[in-house]
Amino acid sequence: MQPHVSLTIDGALVRASRAKSVLDVALEYGICIPHLCHLPHISDLGACRLCIVEHVEDGRSKVTTSCTLGVQEGMVIRTNTDRIRALRRNIAELLVAEAPNSRAIQDIAVRCGVQRVRYPFRNKDCVLCGRCVRVCAEMWDARAIGFVGRGKDRRVDFPFGIRPSFCKQCQSCVQLCPMTMPPCDGPMEPGQERLCGKCEAQLLAAERAPDSCTWCELGVGFDCARYH
């Protein structure tokens, strides 16, 4: 089996090693795909669904997350079509309405072109991206935290709600949490939540959602994989 495959992302023919995901390869080639739950060196969950792309197969295009999609020979991927932009914007809008008190999520909303939020804000502390759970299990082999409950009751917790002795308090979970950095103007009080949108100037004025990576500062808040 050949170690490398060639695939087309947004019309560019790229070469990638076989084991990689489409998201990894795209970022490597400077093609910007917004993402939140993805972390380098950690398995991908596909929870936030921001990194959706169109995968064109036999003339039919399927929307799927690029982080969980392994590269294959001759794949055709489109990351920045109108359809994908609209869907991504709607997902970012859901996220920012859920947890506006995070620089990371505000940044993503701006990056995905959210201009107004059509839902009442909720000000939650967690969007269940699962970074903490996966880093604890995969980096430290500790499994001190995990997902508990189903559907709307799903949350991250210690086993039976008690911190176990095998939690080394290494703080990896805290460091990687997208909710730890408050918005630039400071935390928003309940009832005062809003779409920040100040960083819009950082994006190129010509295009609201650039397809090539501009090394924008918007990635700082969520530890954009481009920085690794």
Binding site: A47, N90, L94, G149, R150, G151
Partner: protein, 617 residues
Amino acid sequence: MPRLAGIRDLADLGASLRTERERAGATITVCGETGCEASGSRAVIEALQSEVRSQGLEQRVHVRVTGCLGFCEQGPIVIVEPGSIFYCRVNAHDAAEIVGATTREGEAVERLLYTDPMSGGKLRTLSQIPFYRLQDRTLLALNPEVDPRYITDYIAVGGYSALAKVLGEYSPESVVREITRSGLRGRGGGGFPTGRKWAACRAAPDDEKYVICNADEGDPGAYMDRSLLEGNPHLVLEGMLIGAWAIGAQQGYIYVRREYPSAFAHARTAVEQAREFGLLGDYVLGSSLCFDVEVARGGGAFVCGESTALIASLEGKVGEPRPKDVHTVEQGLWNKPTTLNNVETWANVPLIMERGAAWFSQKGTKGSTGTKIFALTGQVRNTGLVEVPMGTPLRTIVFDIGGGAVAGAAIKAVQTGGPSGGCLPVDKFDLPVDFDTLAQAGSMVGSGGMVVMDEHTCMVDVAKYFLTFLQDESCGKWVPCRIGIDRMLEIVTDITQGRGRPEQLPLLEDLADTVRETSLCALGKTAPNPVLSTLRYFRAEYEAHIVEHRCPAGVCRSLIEYSIDPERCTGCGTCLSVCPHGAISGDRKAPHAIDPSACQRCGICAAECSSEAVVLR
């Protein structure tokens, strides 16, 4: 019982069981399934058995407890052979009369016969009843003949002969070809061609393969799979054996929903007996097929009906779907090639192999072959299990077989396919029920649930009900499904409580589209269907809620008001005494009045008023 060592043994056993059956006298068949049990069939069974014993008729009359006979509305059901006399709504104290009539040839208990609602006359046999006459009962045909707890009953009616035929005459490849040619499509909801799935799994390069039977049926109002597995578990098992032969699997699992205790018990008994008879285990019927089955129980999660979540649950992990860029036919259970089919799909397999692909594909339509079982429930006269060829118009199912609406209210819509399906209005009732047509109309065949709704059903409330169900049952792993459904429910709740705004309708559609496109599993992808289909066909109801603050069906409590018509009110005081909230006042013999601020809109007064003076607005 010795193991059946070969195909010949099976044929001999079948023949001897058949002669034994013919020699036996009359048979009284009682439905012992969940539906009839709820209407008291267990007492009927005990009464019949003790009656037969006390009259000393054990040699002449046999009482057989079977799985679902379909006409659940009329339960408990008793069928007497010879003569196929059909009794409905039988009570324990009817036992003596039934046994008595059975011993006298040709006699029936008139008052227990089914009354034809059209002519008012009594119908004597099952085949005369319109509910059964218009059906094509193929999968369910054996249910009245078989006591699911005994493998011998199944072998007596020709059971496992399809397996014998396959093992004797077919190569695995030719089984896959035959199934492909039959055009069988997955009955669990997706409608994926079964032959293609099998071929892909067969081609997957691995020695270890699995087959799974998905009996985690969870759609509200659907119970086809339960009835099949409870009523005829060996048919499903035989299908799995043939599937294992075709694919090259060594191990199978039946994953039964936790809430189906008797389906689980029957499946387990069936597996044990099949093992005893040498129909499971090493070298089945002397062939090279080595295959065993285990019965596993779910934990009560709807999402485990989704294939990858079911596999995770079987592996002992949390029952959550996983990304499906690699198909389960390549990497399924324990990362081995796995074929997962629904109960009904497996049950079709022996029939196809026995009677041929051509026989199967001549039923139904071009794209959707064979018959399909539907669970007809809701505001319809004849609730029960209906098996019809694919492509039968909805009108035939709801009005001709279902007998139309209960109590004169006009039927407004039918909800097909459970929470993943949609609502179709009455003017779409001429649509043939097949996979492609219903999908085009914004609904789906799904697993086969059909909930009939009449004019007292508010469609916004229906959408709200399904969203609440899905919000509870979503695994919550992914953003669009977890937050998206939650937000849709928030909007729909706003609408039903009179806080709706006109701009929320396009938002609802936009959000529904996002959830459909970006969700990972079929549960999320189809979750918006109840909203989208009601919005498509009943937009006027949504608008009435938003613009006029009125619920046309009188269901949404925030938008309705009860008042008393002083001209009709006789002042009898009934409403005053039944109102649990003390909202009604008035002197005796004088018109009463409802205090709208105290009224909780429970509707008890309206139901109790004999002069129909309580008006709903």
